[in-house]
Symmetry: D2
Subunit: 445 residues, 4 copies
């Protein structure tokens, strides 16, 4: 029953879009430090997580990285694109996420990592300006240049495989339109410079065309459009996204399931955020905020299933605010006020204040996604990888299904998928008490 999985031989390239941003530089500094043995890979499920095999009393909990054949950190090679031409050490210093001291041991390696020129269109990210950008008369040409970058990077570094991952800015809100509806129309659109084709779509196309998995870390409308899903199926490449689930939404996706588990009703949910990094600056622009807002708002509705529980969830009021607040830098802070009701309709309140750090929470997700996307490729899994929903605010999904937002279902889905991949039975948490006789075929408890 076990799948054939190619072993991870040779080197794996990780190409980041937004190479010099806070998320990627934090990811790079950490991964290099972990590789050196200076730091533990805190926050990374692939590196620290375990997976239960068999019954609970069997006490068999291997590390995930010992259970499935992931690429080894020592085989990773890093590169990417950015609109600023700096080495990533300089960028990490100015991002001001990590203290200078913590960059000391990886300084030299980081200085050697520099971006390739980016595809950039100001209309999509109005608050930013770039001077390290490609020129080309059509979007198709720009995309071709990205493909060339990928091929060159692979050749120069003698890589076996490459993964492309977007950790760059949120683009403005756009709707799916005809040009996105098929690969054919999309390819024509690139040649005609269709305005609905965003830079992030060009990166996705380029990656998939080169057989590289593509991961979308921002809430952009991008790799999930029919045209690109079509390409991923045609070329048999995995895709995943979108919008890393880090601070406030991470908490929401455990609190909302708790309310539903206990059949507690919801009158309203107010979420506000203060953050002061570049992400905050970009989202201060209403068109870009709208993209983020859509991503954040859908979460609760999908989890609470108002159609199943109209008495509990039919009329709640949900508001999400993001506020650019420079004093905090990368240390964003979420404040949620949740108005609930219980037995006899009595109201109660839950307030959550999360003093988190954007890039610190996102960095290990980048690592996990790169490694899991590569695993998927080698395992012959392609198209949308729903089992990676665990990492995303807006999991991309096939049209006939709603996305899964509940963090714990996401985790179970991820782990049972890994078990399946290795030919091991899934866990059901079925209670073995009193109903023992007939549970041979799956692992209870």
């Amino acid at each position: 029953m076990k799948r054939e999985i190619e072993n991870p031989k040779g080197k794996l390239g990780i190409l980041s879009v937004g190479l010099n941003g806070a998320v990627t530089t934090t990811f790079l500094a950490g991964t290099l430090a972990i590789r050196k043995g200076d730091k533990k890979p805190i926050g990374s499920l692939t590196q620290m997580g375990t997976i239960r095999i068999g019954r609970r009393i069997d006490n068999n909990f291997p590390l995930i990285k010992d259970f499935v054949p992931l690429a080894n950190l020592n085989d990773l090679v890093f590169g990417g694109w950015d609109i600023r031409n700096e080495n990533v050490y300089e960028s990490a210093i100015s991002a001001n996420v990590l203290e200078k001291n913590d960059l000391e041991t990886v300084k030299d390696e980081m200085k050697r990592i520099k971006p390739m020129k980016a595809v950039f269109e100001k209309r999509f990210v109005k608050r930013l300006d770039g001077d390290w950008v490609k020129t080309g008369s059509t979007k198709y040409e720009l995309m071709e240049s990205l493909r060339e970058d990928i091929r060159n990077f692979k050749k120069e570094n003698k890589l076996d495989r490459v993964v492309v991952i977007w950790s760059a800015s949120t683009e403005i809100f756009i709707k799916e339109s005809e040009v996105h509806s098929s690969l054919k129309l999309f390819e024509e659109g690139m040649k005609n410079n269709h305005p609905d084709i965003s830079p992030s779509m060009l990166y996705a196309y380029a990656a998939l065309a080169e057989g590289a998995p593509f991961v979308m870390g921002a809430p952009n409308l991008s790799v999930e459009i029919p045209a690109l899903v079509e390409l991923s199926l045609k070329n048999q490449v995995p895709i995943a996204g979108k919008d890393y689930k880090t601070g406030q939404t991470l908490v929401k996706t455990v609190i909302a399931p708790m309310l539903k588990a206990r059949m507690l009703g919801l009158h309203g949910w107010f979420s506000t955020n203060i953050l002061g990094n570049r992400d905050g600056e970009v989202l201060d622009e209403p068109d870009n905020f709208k993209t983020k807002e859509e991503s954040k708002l859908s979460v609760i509705d999908t989890i609470l299933q108002p159609e199943l529980y109209p008495d509990l969830y039919n009329k709640y009021y949900h508001k999400v605010r993001i506020n650019y607040y420079p004093p905090r830098g990368d240390n964003k802070e979420g404040w949620d006020n949740i108005d609930i009701f219980g037995w006899m309709g009595y109201p109660m309140q839950l307030k959550i204040n999360f003093l988190c750090r954007d890039s610190i929470l996102a960095a290990p997700i980048v690592l996990d996604l790169a490694l899991f996307a590569d695993l998927a490729l080698r395992s012959g899994m392609y198209g949308i990888q729903e089992w990676l929903s665990f990492y995303f605010k807006s999991p991309i999904h096939s049209k006939e299904k709603v996305p899964e937002h509940d963090l714990f279902i996401q985790l179970m889905k991820l782990k049972n998928t890994l078990r399946k991949l290795m030919g091991v039975n899934p866990i059901t948490h079925l209670d073995s008490n009193g109903v023992e006789e007939s549970v041979e075929e799956y692992y209870p408890d």
Copy 2:
């Protein structure tokens, strides 16, 4: 594969220990109002919850109460014991949980419900005094009197079955000792008035001897002692407990799993509580608080598995405080401060402020537990019911296994047990994408 389950014919008696307390009177007022159609059963999984059958795209979500044969609310008859001789309407007024207006329609029914005399020993609950208490020369005699009460209640009300549920106070902390180790020694102990036999153990014994399931809602050392587990197996009666999971601990059992899911480390967790009801008053006594504290402290350790994740959870500091604060009455409030760390060891904080209501959260749990305990009895399930862990702060469990505290695993365990009971396959949340071929035998996704 489906179990033989007796249909719930006839009437079911629910006998509450602490009949006149805030939890039971709130449970009674609500259940009567729901039965009348005045209120919705908010907070009750048995009444409002659904259960998915089959694949997600099958879109088949019956109500739990339509899926398994639960007793109907109209067949419930209420009674119990208390140390104060009042009708439950008077007690509900003085408990001050529900507003007078909300009691109006059920006033007459509530006035007719009055307590039987309780078994009470002041040493176990120092802050309370009782004047409606049984006398007897030995604990055995007191227990016999409880059995007689149960038999009389059953006869007078022409009941088919009875469930006994403890919603009374927390007793002082006691350790398991020899007298608790076997049924034989325990029975001798009752005759010799052994000081380690608490009132709550007498209730449990009486219930089990009469074939009635027993549920322990406080953190007392009681029905989980070997002597009483032995009796439950011998008489084939289900038992469940302990300590209703309502406010702060409810939240903890979703936040701790979230941290573990994301491999975020923990430096410290400080939990404080303010509450002003009788429960708060009793817990202001150090010996009684100790019982509660033990119940609350173990939760996080069990979830986080420091033995598996020493780099993340080996050295955290956990403190739980409960403060008697009369201005709030039954409206307790929890404040949690959680010091976590992520990538590169960087610290973050999560603060949770829960303005909840003790009895409002506990009341639907009483209803669910009574109905599920009765279902277990009719289904031939007996001994410890681990699948009801979902409702408890300190799930009682067999000695060879650690308890399950994660709210979402608890819920999955509960639902998959119900599915099993009805001969339906468990849900695994296995992703159907890319690994479709071999998942016939369980429901993926």
Copy 3:
């Protein structure tokens, strides 16, 4: 040295603009209940406050209402204008601030209070619609109609004096312009229907023209324009405003002085508010929010004096958000996050969560302001009453002085003004220890 103050003989009319709004109906219900002896005047300085006379050890603390000759509550007569034609009992019920039970004893009196037709112009409050409004071909005509209302009200109720107080909505943001610069131009403007003349200015003009003090409870640009100040001086009538200081700003005006008192620096102050009443709805409109925002933002700067303390307060970031959030109704909630720094520049944070009630906090302010404005009139004080700054978010003030925002300085100013009025020495809180010899002329300590 004591002023000549006319005794409050006869009846005092209080005419509220926004008679049927949440603030005024709450004010009315409470004042009537207090008058009946059903309730204590919680929150009212004039009714419950004391004032120290002489040295601290003299132990002489009369009630303010016994110290200065205020109108008696029994001599108050209530009326006003609104855009909805309901009696104030109906409006109080739909405002949903006070529970029905609490309105029972004053129901009949409230039913008899009904609004006169209002002056309304939709452009100034876009979210509202009115059907109980005056018509007139010019603003001058509308104003004349208001004057007539005042005269009739006085005559019909046989009043000695009248005060007009605005507790209606926030109007859109407008800037002071030429038409506001002199009485002459303003009067021409009314005749020409100048667009910069708002309804609230017409009410203010009408009141002053009739010799009635005018109080502005919203942040509207209104009575402080030069034209109306000129009229208040000419007719010798007191004016006061603006924007009742109730929830979040109340707290800010004590926390900011604390920071300054201790020379703690400020990096940033983020304030957000959720509220669900009509006020929230009106402020959801950007033009109306702007008026409120201006009122709220200026507070901190004025208190912190960045020009005096550049190292502490030169570069802080201040953001104020108001969010319409219907689940809360009148129970608004403020959340402030304050980033401060201390010794060696080390950062600290202060977070304040105020679960308040808009109208509950505003109602006693309406009472106090009406009584104090009347006292001022009888004492021969006219023009801007800075000693009433205590009650306002944006105290109106003469052009050559900055407003005083510090709540404690405001209180001292208010009380010392009352002392002066009654010919009693002001309090200086001068320490009498060690420097006793020379403090004859003021009350130390």
Copy 4:
């Protein structure tokens, strides 16, 4: 009218009890860095504060240090006692308040500062052990040794004056008894080793006997006992105390006055604290906590004056908790929940979360108190200095007066005392509007 004040010629010694503790080392590092021009004296009123002279419109705001003749930072010489024999640089590193980087420029100076042997009695601080302690057969002998230390320190450093300031631990709770009632009995007591004479009293006696002002920074029963007040009057030396007002209490002393200013009632106030430094460890001992608790509890009652406002403040519930929580180190955190009520008795809540830093808040207070105590000495002020109440949780005060806790009255008292000292009229904040004619003799507005 101006006092004769000696100019601060020569050098001023500051002798700290608890020289190696977190507060003193932070004070020393900061003061040395400020003296070098590396840092600004954030948090210090003497160094950064201004004082208004004359009317508001005069716009005359000199710095306090330019207005009154304070000692110059360059003339300060530092020393003290501790129970550990380390230089203060080592201690600052292990205190972990300031980052190593921030100590770099003052490292050498700090290394040269070392403690003299302390007077220590374990019974008074059970959680600590000391190995750098004086021996002596009587308390009198120990005190004599302290006097000798002071004289030697003065001579060796060629000092003009010395101030002694206690920044050491909280001692256990003791009550005032006969031995404290007069200088004579106290002196006998020292000779007889009376158990009620604590180490901190010996330091106070020694300082006063040597003509050095004594400041008590902890809540210990010490310099305010009649015996020592007697000595301070006899030797004409200023004394001040007690318990630096830093985190939670600082906030309380502005929030409580706000409630009173607005006549808002109080149902309850719950304060909890988490802190992980040595202070937290000492206060984990119930006898030491009791001393702190008394200091913290009295504050609100004194401010709210329940005897004047029985309807508002007669029955509130006040609870203070301190929790030792090591993860935070010196970064303590306060959480206050305040249950208030307003108009018509309606309840509201205010919650305050202060993420502060103990030593960062205390350090500038040490500097200010040393300089002001020295100013008092040179100005001929002696005995209890109530005008320094601004800095203390439990201001010591003469028996016939209640202490002043309101931060703003304290600040006004401090500033008006300085004005008086320099022969300048006090500020009354009297409104000049409308009542101008008779305010010649004090500064209005």
